[in-house]
Symmetry: C5
């Protein structure tokens, strides 16, 4: 899994029938800043994930990828390869909470 920030949303009216009603969010994977080690920074990559936990824009979330993205009640048997399975409260490095912003 990895940590990502919700940066937006995606609208696709014409889609595979089973995907109707799925909330599609635009996310950016984040990594620990290799220089400071005390905050997370964007990787500048953009992915689309299905939301199952009520995540909102600018929130940090936990993303699961691959076949495991289908292992939630909301995504079972769906053609999805990335699912938001949690909202991040905090990340602790060296026992200190680091900045999520």
């Amino acid at each position: 899994m990895f940590i990502a920030k919700v940066v937006g949303s995606v609208v696709a009216t014409q889609k595979t029938k089973s995907m109707v009603g799925c909330k599609l969010l635009m996310i950016e994977p984040y990594v620990i800043d290799p220089k400071s080690g005390d905050r997370m920074i964007t990787t500048s990559r953009s992915l689309v994930a299905v939301d199952t936990v009520g995540a909102g824009e600018n929130e940090f979330v936990l993303i699961v990828q691959g076949s495991s993205a289908r292992m939630t009640p909301e995504t079972k048997s769906l053609p999805v390869d990335a699912t938001i399975i949690g909202i991040i409260d905090s990340v602790h490095i060296d026992r200190k909470s680091i900045s999520l912003e």
Copy 2:
């Protein structure tokens, strides 16, 4: 999943029997422009995806990869690892629609 632009098509006469009749499109994954944040730019990578939604050249589409690419009625049990499952109408970042061109 990720957003991609349909840039072309692929013809392969000699292929695995189950793939006969599959529409194969050339796609380029797109990401949010890390500089401006208000448009999408190509990653310059090239992949081949099966179309299940009637996508056309220059349209932006939603791609699912891996085993989940087989989770549509059209691709069930096929040897495919990337499927177009939707046509993108719009992408919203910071509650504003960004440019798709």
Copy 3:
């Protein structure tokens, strides 16, 4: 899936029993030249794929990866993660056939 060029072959006498008789080809993934847009260029990566369509050296082929690589009659239940499922006749970008060489 992606387009690759067959650049060679691999010999491995000592191998998992189920793989005996499998034709293993060395392939290089190709992408559309981001500069000219009218030809395909190598990514300089090297992978090994199982051939199921009678591909030969210097031919352009279609590769499927992951669990989907096992979705052909020849590769069912085999420990393979990349299979050649077609021979590319042509690639069309902006409705023009581009160079494969």
Copy 4:
């Protein structure tokens, strides 16, 4: 699989029901230092993995990814794509134990 260092932990109160009680650790994949060959260095990437072996911060661990991350008793059917399946005692290159720190 790959070797990673546990660098921290992740707290997510609001999450998919099946994930409640899962210990989520922040890990950084490590590679053999290509220059010296006698120690492991960080890749500066950050992933989140489920712990099944009681790993602690600063320990080197073995990570399995993808659907195989669900092949432990603790992660069966969970929406997880990375699991810690072992704690690394030592890595031997050219028959010498290399530095893990």
Copy 5:
């Protein structure tokens, strides 16, 4: 699949029960040298794979990844995502055998 060189071994006493007895080798993926085309060079990446064919240090091997890594008798149902399924005798490019060293 890809070609890799066995560069070492990994010891992990504390691990998931099903992995006890598994031989874990450190491998480096190799690619054809893009400059000369007549030898293979390291990618300087480091992965851990389960050996099923009796591979030894400095040998070139064939690696399968993902769920297909579980498709050998020795790795069935194990939490492994990379398995050595063959020992490379030779690689032929342009019908000439290239250097493996």
